[in-house]
Amino acid sequence: MSSVITRVKQKQIAQLIAKGKRLDGRGLTDHREIKVEQGLIERAEGSGRVLLGKTEVMVGVKIEIGEPFSDTPNEGVLTVNAELVPLASPIFEPGPPDENSIELARIVDRGIRESEAIDVEKLCIDPGKKVFVIFLDVYVLNHDGNLIDASALAALAALLNTKMANYEIEEGEVKIKPGYTSLPMRSHPITTTFAKIGEKLVVDPWLEEEQVMDARLSMAIDDDGNICAIQKGGNGYFSPEQVLEVAKIAKEKAEEIRKKLDW
C-alpha cells in the first residue's frame, strides 16, 4: 500500500521504537483501546463491530440453507469474504477483491476454521444434502492499521451474536419454527498481529507504523492457549527467535483480551 507519510515522520517513528517508545504513547506490547458492540444490524443473523483505536470493522453473518462439500457431507459450510470499501481509506479503490482483501478474508477464515470455533457438525440438516451455510462478511469501515486483528475480533463477536432460526423437517422439506438458537460455538480464537520495525516487535501496529514496518506476523490462539493459525506478511523477515517471542506474547495477549471481553 502506498506511503502517505513523510520520510521524516517514518524516521521519527522508527527511532522512537528503537528506544522502546511509540508515537501514540503506547508500550511496545500494548493494544489500542478495544471496543466491541454486537447486534447492530437487525437484518443479519449476527453482527459485530469492533473499534481498535480508530480502525473500525463491521462483520455481518447471514445464514442460508445449501449443499455441503462432498468430502465433508456432515458439516455445515463457512464462507468468509472481506471488502475494503472505498469509504474506509483514500488508498482503497472500488472493484473486485484484490490480493489484500482476499488475504484478510483468508486469515480471518483460517483462525475460525482451524480452531474449530464453530461446531460445524451441528449445522448439518440432512447429511450429504442440506446443511446451514454461514456467510461471514468483513466490512472495513475505517482503516487506521491492523485490519487483521480488528476483523478477526469483529468476526468472533458476530458469530457469538448469531442466532439461527429453529427448524424441523417435514417430508424432506425444512420448515422454519418460531424461536432462535445460538450458533454452536466451541472456541474463541483471538488473533494478534506484530509488526517488525528495526529489530523490535510491536503489537497492534497502527497505520503509520504499518508504513514503516519491515514485516508483520499474525497468530491466532484458541481457548486452550494453542496456536491455530499464523500468517507472515510484508517484504521483510523474522529471525527464529523473534517467531518464538511472538508466539509467547500472542498467547498472553489472547488471554488478556478474552478476559477483558468475558468470552
Binding site: 458439516e75 490480493e99 488475504e103 496456536i227 491455530c228 500468517q231 507472515k232 529471525s239
Partner: protein, 244 residues
C-alpha cells in the same frame, strides 16, 4: 483438517510412503529448463512437479506501476487444471491469489530491489502436479530461477513444511498428511542470514509442538539449500568448462 480416519504413521513410526518423521521426500531440481525465460527452474519433490520462470528485469507494464527508487516484483502462482485429483478451474482461485502474494513476500527480502529502479521482474510458477506443500517447492524453485536469471540476491530462499500427524511432528508434508494431519507449518528461510521470509500455519499446535515444528522445518530447509547450491554449481561449472 478434521478427518482422521486413516493412520498416517504406523507403529514402527514410518509414514504412508515409508518415510521417517524427519525425512524429506526425494528431490530432483534442474535450472535453465526454459529457453524463452531469463531464468527458470524445475523441481520434483515427491509427486510435486513445478516449473518456475523469471522474466526481467524489464520495463514495467503498465507504466504507472513503476517505482522511481526500486524495481517491483510480481508473482503468479498457478495450478494446472490437471494437477489435482478433481479438475481445477484454470481461473485463479482465492487460494492462488493469496499464495502468489505470500510467495512474492517470501522472495522479495532476498533481492536487491534498488539495483534496478523503474523495472519489474515477473515470477511465474506453474504447478503441473500437486502433492502437498506446493508453496514450499515453488519458493525453492523460484529462488533458483531468480539466480539462474542472474538477479543479484542476498541469499537463496529455500522453503520446507513441517506439521503434525498422529501426534508426531513430521517434516515435508505430502498431500494426504496435509489434508488429514492436524497441522501444517510452511516455512521459507534465507539460511545464511537465518531469516524467515515466509511463515504460515493452520491446524492446532501447542507452543512446544510449534517450537519443534519450526526447528524441524528449518533443518529441512538447510538440507534442501545444499541441493540448491549443488544444482547451481553443477550447471555453471559445466558452462565454464564448455567455454574453456
Amino acid at each position: 483438517m478434521s478427518q482422521k480416519q486413516e493412520k498416517l504413521i504406523d507403529k514402527k513410526g514410518s509414514r504412508l510412503d515409508g518415510r521417517k518423521p524427519d525425512e524429506l521426500r526425494p528431490i530432483k531440481i534442474e535450472v535453465g529448463v526454459l529457453s524463452n525465460a531469463d531464468g527458470s527452474a524445475y523441481i520434483e519433490q515427491g509427486k510435486n512437479k513445478i516449473l518456475a520462470a523469471i522474466y526481467g528485469p524489464k520495463e514495467v507494464h503498465p507504466k504507472h506501476l513503476a517505482l522511481q527508487d526500486r524495481m517491483i516484483l510480481r508473482c503468479r502462482y498457478h495450478m494446472a487444471p490437471f494437477s489435482v485429483q478433481e479438475r481445477k478451474s484454470p481461473a485463479p482461485s482465492r487460494r492462488e491469489i493469496e499464495l502468489s502474494k505470500v510467495i512474492r513476500e517470501a522472495l522479495e527480502p532476498s533481492i536487491f530491489l534498488d539495483y534496478y529502479p523503474r523495472t519489474s521482474i515477473d515470477v511465474f510458477i506453474e504447478v503441473l502436479q500437486a502433492d502437498g506443500s506446493t508453496r514450499c517447492s515453488s519458493i525453492t524453485a523460484a529462488s533458483l530461477a531468480l539466480a539462474d536469471a542472474g538477479i543479484p540476491m542476498r541469499d537463496l530462499v529455500v522453503a520446507c513444511s513441517a506439521g503434525k500427524a498422529d501426534d508426531t511432528i513430521i517434516l515435508d508434508l505430502m498431500d494426504a498428511e496435509d489434508k488429514m494431519g492436524s497441522a501444517d507449518v510452511p516455512v521459507a528461510l534465507m539460511p545464511n542470514l537465518n531469516a524467515i521470509t515466509l511463515l504460515q500455519m493452520d491446524g492446532i499446535l501447542t507452543h512446544e509442538e510449534f517450537e519443534n515444528a519450526i526447528g524441524l522445518a528449518l533443518e529441512g530447509c538447510k538440507k534442501i539449500y545444499a541441493l540448491q547450491k549443488e544444482v547451481l554449481k553443477t550447471k555453471y561449472v559445466g558452462v565454464k568448462e564448455a567455454e574453456e
